[in-house]
Symmetry: C2
Subunit: 472 residues, 2 copies
Amino acid sequence: MSLAALQVPVQRNDAGLAAVMPKLSELFGDRFQTSQAIREQHGHTTSWLPNQLPDGVVFALSTDDVASAVRLCHEHRVPIIPFGTGSSLEGHVNAPGGGISVDLSQMNQIVAVHPEDLDCVVQAGVTRKQLNDYIRDTGLFFPIDPGADASLGGMAATRASGTNAVRYGTMKDAVLALTVVMPDGSVIKTGGRAKKSSAGYDLTRLMVGSEGTLGIITELTLKLFGVPEAVSAAICHYPDVASACNTVINAIQCGIPVARIELLDELQVKAVNSYSKLSLKEAPTLLVEFHGSESSVKEQVELFASISEEFGGSDFEWATRPEDRTRLWAARHDAYWAGQSLQPGKRSLSTDVCVPISRLADCVVATQEDIKTTGLTAPIVGHVGDGNFHVLVLADDTDADELERVEAFIERLNYRAIEMGGTCTGEHGVGQGKMKYMAREHGPALAVMASIKRSLDPLNIMNPGKIVRIDE
Amino acid sequence: MSLAALQVPVQRNDAGLAAVMPKLSELFGDRFQTSQAIREQHGHTTSWLPNQLPDGVVFALSTDDVASAVRLCHEHRVPIIPFGTGSSLEGHVNAPGGGISVDLSQMNQIVAVHPEDLDCVVQAGVTRKQLNDYIRDTGLFFPIDPGADASLGGMAATRASGTNAVRYGTMKDAVLALTVVMPDGSVIKTGGRAKKSSAGYDLTRLMVGSEGTLGIITELTLKLFGVPEAVSAAICHYPDVASACNTVINAIQCGIPVARIELLDELQVKAVNSYSKLSLKEAPTLLVEFHGSESSVKEQVELFASISEEFGGSDFEWATRPEDRTRLWAARHDAYWAGQSLQPGKRSLSTDVCVPISRLADCVVATQEDIKTTGLTAPIVGHVGDGNFHVLVLADDTDADELERVEAFIERLNYRAIEMGGTCTGEHGVGQGKMKYMAREHGPALAVMASIKRSLDPLNIMNPGKIVRIDE
């Protein structure tokens, strides 16, 4: 089996492309680019899937720009692939049938901040760090943190979450409303700024996680949260991953409102030590962070420490100074690059699954055993408070046998999570890489997804070949 | 204008009904009923809209029963109207084109409780009180509380929320996955038990709030929460509604994780006093409740009390004993009946809107003035922590002039909320009563809703004439 076999083919429309390209050029001038370098950059992602280049790239500055580009592509039946920062992992920005990449990174205006309503309105190209820098003085912050400094539009499109999700939820919870350019070029708003509504179908949640296959998100209304009065972070080591996972399971079951709780297995700690010049004990490790008032953080810490001790947690180290916390979380955020550096010449395949919290230890332990049996190098890191973990599998591109074992391992991992009542992706999204698991996970519900896709994008031009086949 | 003008007509299919009724009778025996009394009961709701009876009622015991009934109705193009407990307010269970009511109240099995994952699986007819009684010993509870002891299926279908939503969210947040019988009788599961997933379109959230127009919810996987260690409730009076609203706005903006915060205006307090035999001060009143650890509740109470004082709050009364709290909240829950008892012979029209929290005082004050100018009797009560409030308008059915003024008032109220960036319904849903506001609130997004409706229910048999016209 080859990686390319995962990529659902999409028919090219050369005549349509030949007609639409000069029109885009006329309309957008220098903001329509077709150079090989720019096309490569827009097909390229941190994905492990082979790159498939678009035929040209529109750099949009406004919702109107996006709508104009989409209308032209719609008229000529040419695929459109939205592009944020290119940090997605499952081949989301590939162009399997060619077409036009719509780059939203220059749509980076913060339109409005409403501290009195704990919300803000941003263009889709604003990144999470940019937003948090901008609102620093308001005492508010945007908590969703997938690691990469992704664009907020891209984060909504892939239903991103990350380290803070256990307390603050995912993009599904953080988005109040979206402006979306639909496949025919019409522009809709999916909601207002009220905190809740029962007025009709939840188009906001339908668009969040639709990965650009139903429309292009151009503007977002997002919830903000007060910066907590007190923050305390800690690192703790465990005799084995089962003990670390059981600590997490118990902490969640006790209702500790932990803000972040991250697992690094022994191999991941080794990688982090080497990459980030740290000297952490090379054992299964939890990084935890608590948010709240001084007294509530103190309570959380005490309760967590007692659970942790029960499962053999040792060498507890607290970091209440911001600089110490930053160092700790920087190491966590560099886990991807650290993992890759274990075997620098190799391709890294990052995959994630998510299971009910009670099955977390079972799933991680079975996966570690599988890695060992299969003879792979594959560190594990995870947002374990949600039952979500990632495996970074290293593979030699030139070694067909190893690639085959990797593929088979990833397949077993995904089916294992689904069998346990979980999902084939907790936060990376489907893209191209996870389409093969959709039927097993969703059964007849997949046909309902395809029906929605057909109804909103009958020409199959919006990011085709991702999530669901239109004929499914 | 008459109330019936709000009810979108649906074409009857007498031939289809004549064909399907004997088949339903054969299949369900005594569990298919066509008596006038039972049909009336199933068309009847707490709604203020004229009742429109179904032609027969199927009492379903299982998902298979529902699927069989739907398949027959699908084959004969006969409308299907799902029925839970009939406590919805906007005409959701009316049968404008006749058809078959599917009563789910006997699907009242609690299928599984997973305390270790903080979730449970229930059939759609289980009510929220039944669930909470059942799980009392686990130390967990289900927090969504719309007042009525509604069925959980119905609560999901209308995206219900209620008093606890400010801390625990709405049905949108509480539902992990659904089993749904689709309009062609196929059965889907919209998700697993993982706490989060990025695997495709969010069918769970699409079905939550779809009011039976896209399918019938037959089973739900729901999140549960730990019963808080400490609970404290209080009642406080204010010189005017603006001061009460400003207290709420400030408390929310300060990030106090208040569990419930309810406003009763002076007229509503008067009604509650008389109906529930209480002697509360007849002034704008807030009922608040805090959940957490002993020390965190103490902190919340202190911070709230200081904000309240700033806005002239007086006669603070704390209720930490469960029986005192129960009395207080029982009075709140009886607000609907209490309001109605102000003028017993009249029809009561309950309507709700929701605005961004910063506009809450503006909206409530303008609405009170409007009530006064229009010369209506209409107490206000609200889940104000979400910016959501209800107006119960009393109207004499035989007084055409009063009915017209009531209609015009409700219209102004809804448009006022929409103009303020809010929504025409925070929790009651669209049903028949709010369809006329959908175009103003959603603009071109309404056509997207209609497109989804057409794609999943091309025969327009699932609860037709609700939320969105299929030809919109």
